[in-house]
């Protein structure tokens, strides 16, 4: 996992601290260290502060949401976490392992005590995937540019 995380040596981190904080606050995870050895993990407080919470629901909610919506922007991810952390532990545990395909979603839908919740989670995942696709295919960039052609 750490191989995918941005690494900064001390000098680099000192020079770019403001930039690194901006990036982390946007949801990225960075590491700091000495002599190419990763020693410190920098996480955005929201949502990862939940990892250090005494509340098990918060931790489980974070794990489930990040598994299902790993590439979601904060305004899609956070409502999911907030909805999940309000649930009782048994309902959260029943969502693990998180579904990975149509079949496992259907199984979860049948077996979970709150099928409505499962349906909402799936809707969130579909929204997240569609957004990532729109970003990577350039639709968003082109649409933002298109705004400049508007006749007002």
């Amino acid at each position: 996992m750490t191989a995918q995380l941005e690494f900064h040596g001390i000098a680099d981190a000192r020079e770019k601290l403001s930039e690194i904080i901006d990036a982390v606050s946007r949801g990225q995870v960075h590491t700091l260290g000495r002599r190419k050895q990763r020693m410190v993990l920098m996480l955005p407080l929201e949502p990862y502060g939940r990892l250090f919470s005494a509340n098990l629901q918060s931790k489980l909610a974070l794990i489930i949401a990040t598994q299902l919506l790993s590439e979601a922007p904060p305004h899609i991810m956070l409502p999911a976490i907030r909805e999940l952390e309000s649930l009782p532990i048994d309902q959260l545990v029943a969502l693990i392992p998180t579904p990975t395909d149509d079949r496992s979603w259907a199984t979860l839908q049948r077996s979970h005590s709150d099928p409505g919740l499962v349906k909402r989670l799936r809707k969130r995942q579909e929204l997240c995937r569609a957004l990532v696709e729109a970003q990577t295919s350039g639709i968003i960039d082109a649409a933002e540019h298109g705004t400049s052609s508007i006749e007002l």
């Binding site: 901006d22 899609i76 957004l131 082109a142 933002e144 705004t147 052609s149 006749e151 007002l152």
Partner: protein, 193 residues
Amino acid sequence: MDGSLFLVARMHLSDPWQGNTSWIVEDDPPYELLDPIDVPESLLDAMYALYAATYRRIDDALNIPSPIAFFEFSRWILVQDDQGTLVGLLLLKPTPAGLKLGIVAASSAPDVTSALKCLLRQILNIDGVYAEVSDRLEQVLDGYVLCMASEHAPALTDKTVRSIGDGLHYERHIANVGPRIKILVGRPAYRET
């Protein structure tokens, strides 16, 4: 400004456009906090119909094939007429430099286009609101908003750009479109690095 919030503000065409719109960079009313998956389908349909009607006046090929892409932007300003019909929309997204204008759509009625022009000129004079523009929108804003030096474009757009000599405009590659001349306007909260 909390970038993790999904906020929708509904305004009326008859609202006083010269009034204070500094709330646009805050997280409070008239913004309403919504869960993105609870946005009514009927609203999404109305937004997409307005988007499609706006851009088909320009080009048959629509950039956004479905309303899902609207969720890229976490702040929606929806303008309704006296009958409650959606006649204009502005979609913006929080960035490290502030709130960036993303998509604008409007009916062709003169009172609507006039109101949207006024609103755009107004919000782009609020600290922390900016836009990357060109073509017609650049003309609409010319003389009403500040232009940023192109040297700030790489940091503000997070893209590779090529300055073209006047110190303001730059060229960058737009996905699915090609190279285009753009300019940054407004008051981004940029930082020298």
